[in-house]
Symmetry: C2
Subunit: 338 residues, 2 copies
Amino acid sequence: MRGTVIHAPGDVRSEEVPDPRIIAPTDAIIRTVATCVCGSDLWSYRGINPVTEPTTIGHEYVGVVEEVGAGVTTVKPGQYVVGSFFASDNTCPNCRNGYQTSCLNREYFGGCQAEYVRIPQADGTLVAIPGQPSEALVPGLLAVSDVMGTGWYAAVAAEVKPGATVAVVGDGAVGLCGVIAAKELGAERIIAMSRHTDRQRLAREFGATDIVTERGDEGVKVIKEMTDGIGADSVLECVGTNESMHQALRATRPGGHVGFVGVPHDVNIPVDELFSSHVGLRGGPAPVRAFLPDLIERVWTGRINPGKVFDLTLPLAQVAEAYHAMDVRRAIKVLLQP
Amino acid sequence: MRGTVIHAPGDVRSEEVPDPRIIAPTDAIIRTVATCVCGSDLWSYRGINPVTEPTTIGHEYVGVVEEVGAGVTTVKPGQYVVGSFFASDNTCPNCRNGYQTSCLNREYFGGCQAEYVRIPQADGTLVAIPGQPSEALVPGLLAVSDVMGTGWYAAVAAEVKPGATVAVVGDGAVGLCGVIAAKELGAERIIAMSRHTDRQRLAREFGATDIVTERGDEGVKVIKEMTDGIGADSVLECVGTNESMHQALRATRPGGHVGFVGVPHDVNIPVDELFSSHVGLRGGPAPVRAFLPDLIERVWTGRINPGKVFDLTLPLAQVAEAYHAMDVRRAIKVLLQP
């Protein structure tokens, strides 16, 4: 089948790779309907995360179940499914607490930028949608499998409450989905920090009430001026750099909360500042699985359309071009069709 | 009047100091009925915080209002009052959010190990109790002014919920009050980490269901064994060292919360670990003022008795002995009577 292999930074290729097979009785094989490139894939593409050997890549997918192992009971061939990028049993104490990305039996599986994918622990990982989606719904369902679930978790971790003032650091797909989440959770004022006009426009469409183009301490100053001098109730940190984390912490009011979902790269948390500010901090790889039923419902009913973060669609064979377009910020997020 | 001056590490003296006077119209002068030595005073006594010049010391007090400035409206001479160690206006946005220790007009005032104390912003800072307390209630009311309020905030910041499993790192007065708070907030299991028999006994009396004597990674291992392998829902970090912070973070289950109230000294937060664990972290100087009305009520009605943390009472003149006794852990906390 056609898959995607990263050979080195900047070198992503569409290649023939072995078809996946059922290995464990709890596996399922799905035929990918749509997949995409994630901001976190760019860490390897840009050489910030090392690439030591050719590796299949991609972790976002929607598709149709082709085959299931003998132990799979909740999904069946022909069903249209969405799943998280971590496989989880959905039954262990951490899963029951809503943290499936900390499942005691969690498995990371990559290789989803491909025609077929093996999903471990299919019963725990996959959620079947109510029927066959229209073509227009596919991008939204695909977004739910990662960026929308991650933006949602950022808002939940930042304790967004009805009436709150929320700031979003990061105008990538996750940050933009964080705007959707903040709005759905009832935020009254949503400040998107962005300096790209196309992303500003989408942020406003998703519910942002204000745009701040300043960054770092300047950005913090603007947020404070907008909020009685104290800062935002909730700040979503959707980048993962030291600068973005400090910006998020300092833009939060005393006793407010930062939800951080950008995978931290050389981030140093200023503990004395964290202490004296009373700011709450919580993040991590989003337990997307916990939110899937709710988010699928919101997309299915047309209440939200996170699929708009896809501003470029390419055939899977042109995956190299997809990485390049995102790397140079010509696209926010690229949808790939096998 | 008699006050207390720290001249150098290990050198605390009871001395004649100037009587405090009303400076601002919002000030009050109180006659101290009881004061005490705080674990945080020991940071200076032990030379960990520098002592650059002779400084009056102490920040916990209960007393009777002697005199008020012309602008004071809510407390009056003769009233028995409790207050926090930070003066706050109790009206600014941060105060209204419940973070009086981040009051936009906050003032730290020390010098409370003395016969009289000037309290700035008396209307915002002081709370009058319902009447004249019996002698037996005085230690509990004094505890509320700092250690009980701080233990309470640790439990609130650690999001202690009914039915929760809670671990408390630190068996000083704050940690022991954290046990009281966890119980009052409905925790089902309260694990006190302590290796001192007198403190273990008090922890049990306050509601601890389990005692863990191991520390560091060994202590974490024991907590995990007690909690289905995942860790406690909420952990109260009441020490402030790097070791205690790491112990707290690692003893918390994925998605659980750490409340940290030990003033951090050379603490490094392992951000990758914090990220991957989904643990929420919030701390700071406790906004005691926010909790005073509720905690005074709990002490006044006999529902809690945090006054038991005082296991030694001395005349104010013997303040040097009080510091020494706490330094060598001969006493958990010393009450001083002017």
